[in-house]
Symmetry: C2
Subunit: 350 residues, 2 copies
């Protein structure tokens, strides 16, 4: 099955699951309709990377194609929706996937209905609850995918560890932002747990384990998935500063305004002159940063060599991933699909 | 097994589960230690009502005693921990179970470490993440309780519907607060989904379904659980206004300061004179409400007959529950334990 075909089937499984929930929610109350609309809008975007890696982990170990593995893999997109909704609350982000973030949508609902009191806590509360609901639904969608119990059983511990790792990774990320130290090593630790394991390694493991992978198989997939995941996150960080807003779905420079402590930023801080370091200290995380401020920070990222250093790291991680993939004892069709995904996840687009 | 024995075993299962997670978290980073401490403090309190109802639902249908059902039932306490942590963020509550709420704990950590920037978003973010983690762990604890797959299978749909119902109930609750209409009927709808089903009916169903309950058995348990759950929530609402802070773990009048739209308040609003209604409008939800303001509102709740009306509703719901319990086709030992729980959950304490 081609990558685009997997994506289409994952989409269909995802929308079918949400449609099955719809009457239950509206049966409780028609007032829950805005929760469903907010989820529909969020799920319309996204690259479905985690379901793809889960699916190809399954196929890599010889699992047969079918709607059940697609549904189990698609459940990861609900986990991701939950993480994004809560992330946007924590970061105070206005947009996600080119649309208003969930908490902003509910603030707007509060305002348009003219309810008394402040719209802000209402928006935050609704987003926390929708994130909780999608987190619960991800487990439910996995359990009800139609895969038999004995197939799901070896997947469950991986689902569990993946959720724990991503939530811990998010906390460590927030801690790095709070401390503001921002060395490259700490930033790479966040990348490992928040991104590399969660986006690539664990979804691969999940699919592979359900198809009967041995410990050695899982290790071979880690050798591929962890460097690819790191490369993917570093690419995302570069796009977050230098990318086209039409592609990222976020206004230019938003990561700089949020003061995200990425590897890219850590590299710049290590290499900055005292004058550059002072600009970084003053302007990173300034919510009022305008386009000339964004440009000033971009110049520092280029002139310190942080951007080229980050690109080198991406190239090196991607090369490691390619070598590990070539060596992995997995099905040829999966190698081809994972090679495509590797290129798509790490390609230079700036 | 006695109620106090169930509670003790639930406690042990809960602490053992968290202890099994500890090395994994600290293996990711020692920096995760405050997450574990915050959870330890929260789990030290609580009445373990939901595990008790799940356990007795199982026993009611003839399920055999054992550590596996205790662990499956105890997992509901992690779901409840998640709901409380997120609830406190949404309500901006300072305390929970007589201790600082989770977000306040992490604000204090930020302050004591002298990190730059604001402590408030750090506290909120950490609490959102710990709530996510405990929500994920509740499912994991249920899955790994040791009950065989074919016993867990009929429980899963009930676990799923329970989570969806409580999250939807929370949203409807927030919506009622936002609209500020507050009629008795709307307040009772919130009670049904946020409390009656979540605290009593669904935990009973969960245990019973895993022990092989028929649809008729589940219906008989609903006839008991729904009125009991409503009575329990109305009792909680009365305690929230008139209760002893030492027992509720919250400062006196906190529910009034938060402006919670309970059935008790809705009754008062329906029966208030224009002058009383004006006081309610002005003082309910006033975060700066002092003790004389609390006393003024209490007087209105007494003088309008809202308090006695609420007590009558509690009596009536409790009586319905007792009648339904006596008629339910369930094991005698479970009837005795559920009778005790009914009394404990609804008894007059003011």
């Amino acid at each position: 099955m081609s990558s685009s075909r997997v994506r289409k089937e994952v989409d269909e499984a995802l929308y079918a699951f949400v449609d099955r929930q719809r009457p239950g929610l509206l049966g409780i109350s028609e007032d829950l309709s805005p929760m469903l609309s907010a989820l529909d809008v969020l799920l319309a975007g996204g690259k479905r990377l985690r379901p793809a890696f889960c699916y190809w982990g399954w196929r890599a170990l010889g699992g047969a194609d079918g709607p059940e593995i697609i549904a189990a893999a698609a459940s990861l997109e609900l986990l991701q929706a939950s993480a994004l909704i809560h992330d946007d609350v924590m970061d105070g982000s206005d947009t996600r996937r080119g649309q208003p973030s969930v908490h902003r949508r509910f603030e707007a609902l509060h305002a348009s209905e003219g309810w008394p009191g402040s719209a802000v806590p209402f928006g935050m509360g609704a987003a926390i609850l929708l994130g909780d609901l999608t987190l619960a639904w991800s487990g439910e969608m996995f359990d009800t995918s139609g895969l038999p119990g004995e197939v799901l059983a070896p997947g469950r511990p991986l689902y569990d560890v993946m959720r724990t790792e991503v939530m811990c990774g998010q906390y460590l990320d927030m801690l790095e932002q709070a401390r503001g130290t921002g060395d490259v090593e700490s930033a790479l630790r966040v990348v490992k747990y928040k991104s590399a394991k969660y986006t690539i390694e664990r979804p691969l493991h999940l699919g592979a384990a359900m198809a009967g992978a041995s410990a050695a198989d899982l290790e071979a997939l880690s050798d591929y998935g962890l460097p690819l995941g790191a490369a993917f996150q570093l690419r995302d960080d570069v796009l977050g500063v230098f990318g086209d807003p039409a592609e990222t779905g976020k206004p230019a420079g938003d990561d700089l305004r949020e003061g995200k402590r990425t590897v890219l930023i850590a590299l710049a801080q290590e290499r900055a002159t005292p004058a550059q370091r002072e600009v970084l200290r003053r302007r990173l995380g300034d919510p009022g940063l305008d386009l000339s401020g964004v440009e000033e920070l971009r110049t520092i990222l280029v002139e310190t060599g942080a951007l080229s250093g980050c690109e080198s790291m991406i190239d090196e991680f991607a090369a490691q991933a390619h070598v590990a993939l070539a060596a992995a004892p997995i099905a040829a069709e999966a190698v081809a699909a994972l090679t495509d995904l590797t290129v798509a996840a790490t390609a230079r687009r700036v």
